[in-house]
Symmetry: C2
Subunit: 467 residues, 2 copies
Amino acid sequence: MTTNNTLEQVLAALDSARAETEASLIEWLRIPSISAQPAHAADCRSAAGWLLKELEAIGFAARLRETPGHPVVIASHPGTGGDAPRVLIYGHYDVQPPEPLALWTSPPFEPVVTEGPRGPRLVARGAVDDKGQVLTWLAALRAWHKVAGGPPLPVTVLVEGEEEIGSANLDAVLAEEKAALSADLALISDTNMWAPGVPALTVSLRGMAYVQIDLKLGDRDLHSGLFGGSAGNVLNLLTRILGELHDEEGRIRIPNFYDGVIEPGGNERAAWDALGFDEAAFLGAQGLSVPGGERGRSAPERLWARPTADINGIWGGYMGEGSKTVIACEGHAKLSCRLVPGQDPARIVEGIREFVQSRLPADAKLELQVFGLAPGVSIPTDSLVVQAAAAVLEEEFGRKAVLAGGGGSIPVVSSLKGILGLDSLLMGFGLDDDQVHSPNEKFELACLHAGSRSHARLMARLAAPKG
Amino acid sequence: MTTNNTLEQVLAALDSARAETEASLIEWLRIPSISAQPAHAADCRSAAGWLLKELEAIGFAARLRETPGHPVVIASHPGTGGDAPRVLIYGHYDVQPPEPLALWTSPPFEPVVTEGPRGPRLVARGAVDDKGQVLTWLAALRAWHKVAGGPPLPVTVLVEGEEEIGSANLDAVLAEEKAALSADLALISDTNMWAPGVPALTVSLRGMAYVQIDLKLGDRDLHSGLFGGSAGNVLNLLTRILGELHDEEGRIRIPNFYDGVIEPGGNERAAWDALGFDEAAFLGAQGLSVPGGERGRSAPERLWARPTADINGIWGGYMGEGSKTVIACEGHAKLSCRLVPGQDPARIVEGIREFVQSRLPADAKLELQVFGLAPGVSIPTDSLVVQAAAAVLEEEFGRKAVLAGGGGSIPVVSSLKGILGLDSLLMGFGLDDDQVHSPNEKFELACLHAGSRSHARLMARLAAPKG
């Protein structure tokens, strides 16, 4: 049985183990588990193996579940309590590519602790997304193991290695491992706090449709003097097409793009307005001042409840030093749309295809590669679990948790619901300035430890909700 | 005195020396004299030195004239005739960068002779632009030296090493070497024939304004989920701006762009129509079918008498394998405009700057690098020299030479006129499918040898116009 006294001991154990928790995370961060780059496949496997070993050390039955890509860590512990709900904790051990390397102040896979304005932070690729956040519940499980022999409720762990590249193999694993992954709710730590010291639960997520547009016009590169004015130019074409993606109001012109998008109600808008989101500060911290997105909509609405179209990369022609008077024959762009509940990712991709194809001259060739599809997700805020988590965060941080929308996508949330019937709780401890997906990604040590304590509290609360 | 018999002997000597001419060109082509890439500065100097040696071997007083960049070869020969006009022959020993290397069927600086549909051709970077064309007059000079002890008229040679990068140092050389470069006309071999077996004189040239647009928006790359819908996206911005360069009629929207452009008269249009330019075949050879440029204008007009705006390269964001959900903070594009007589290149650059700047949000930063400026040029077709060259070409090829406009730019033509007071004769032996500035650049051996014979004839004709 879990008592308040047990929880206090667990929290004390966490506090005593801070240095070990940090050292453990640093060790894991050294492994360059970059899922997008085949050259790092062995590193991905090592990162999975590291977690496997750590879970076995605290009494979990753990295994590496093979896939056509990177393996998945599946582990479980019966817990020490009696009749308690089983929680399935999801995370990912893979990380984003670190490029551009030249902009890192320290090597991306040689973690360092540096002093920031709010205290020490750990700088490395994966520091927060997602290894640091995984450590927040792993540290809690270690403390529960040390104090009570195990967690107060049954726990299953599911940590994959392809989240950053679209989790192509995950749905099959979920379907084939239904028995092993059976649980009462899912817990995911891959989102942000509202602000330093202000916790949040993420209650909606945007989806994703990510494509690469490959255009070819002509058999070879041409001399722009000999052919300019007669030959089509694929880069003129590509920029004209992409330049038409948005109208002057910031509305996206992809056919059927807004089909199914649900307008937020007055309550939601009022709740968002009450947050006092300071967009000027949010953008100012990044050296920006002019908001993008659709005119006439508030910042929370544009970040959480409206879809987007962002060019993530573009290239073609001569990119070297100086000048080359060439009309290239190939141009490429990576384009991704964040989606909201109601939009169908596959229809969005077809809309993109139609948008581009209808603007091509007869002699241009289009190839579209699809790198990721996930629908938007909305989580009911009146559920018992959300209420329990909100209470836990208020206890730990001394202030109410914000029920926030998330701008990013966590496609597994839809998969967990669709395949395993699980609702997810999104309780994360990142900060907006952590520079995820950028050089110099960091995780504040205060967030690591407050997150660990929050997870320890949550396990007690979920195991004995009435206690 | 030059007699018809002497010219016949010179032509015979050229024919006997074919293998040596080819071997000589191959030797020169091995030197990777890429002016745009500082790593090849020593190779540029070697290429200059090679030519110096070859000219000294046939009686020229030759020197390397230093500049802040690559050196210029200046050489002269008094000729064997009496009162004959002095011709200044211009060429360049530098070549375009060979990238993309993967598309070459043989290494760009390991010349090979391959069999083409019309006979053998030499494949290498610089094979036609410009080393092969330089060899057409160098071979003629060698034959004149062998048969008659020297050319029949005084010849000065001016071969620079920065043509492909905008000839930034050439004007100063021309101004400072006026005495050494004094002549009666200039001869340049860097243009094309009308078709295989059909010679041409180029009587107009387009100018050039080449810039690089560097846009910065924000201090760092951002996560597209956390920031999409609020943060500006520099690649969305860059494509939107570049996408507005042309209207639906193909007309360029740069402010003041068409100021000073002279509409061709009825005569010119009639002459162009009479050429029977087959645009479908011209484009079809490159795997294209839909003409670019301004609607309602003929192909010769669009290629020779209308200005253009071509994006030569574009890059920014994530360009690697797979996906990265990033909003980049930097985007770049290389943009060049071919200009026609009447347009002021410096005003065009200011127009481009205004075009971009006026479309930027307040937090975006623009830098514009200027890589080349040259006005368009028009050469009077009724001059004695043009008539003489037309006659020479008709003799060599057995058919009338076409008086054609050139689509490309040869900025030195304006400099030779403005600084040395020289008119230029543009007689070249390239072909439209030589793939200049592309992988697998080639020069047909038939063109090399017919060009050499044409230059030999021209020297005789210019030395004794009444004979």
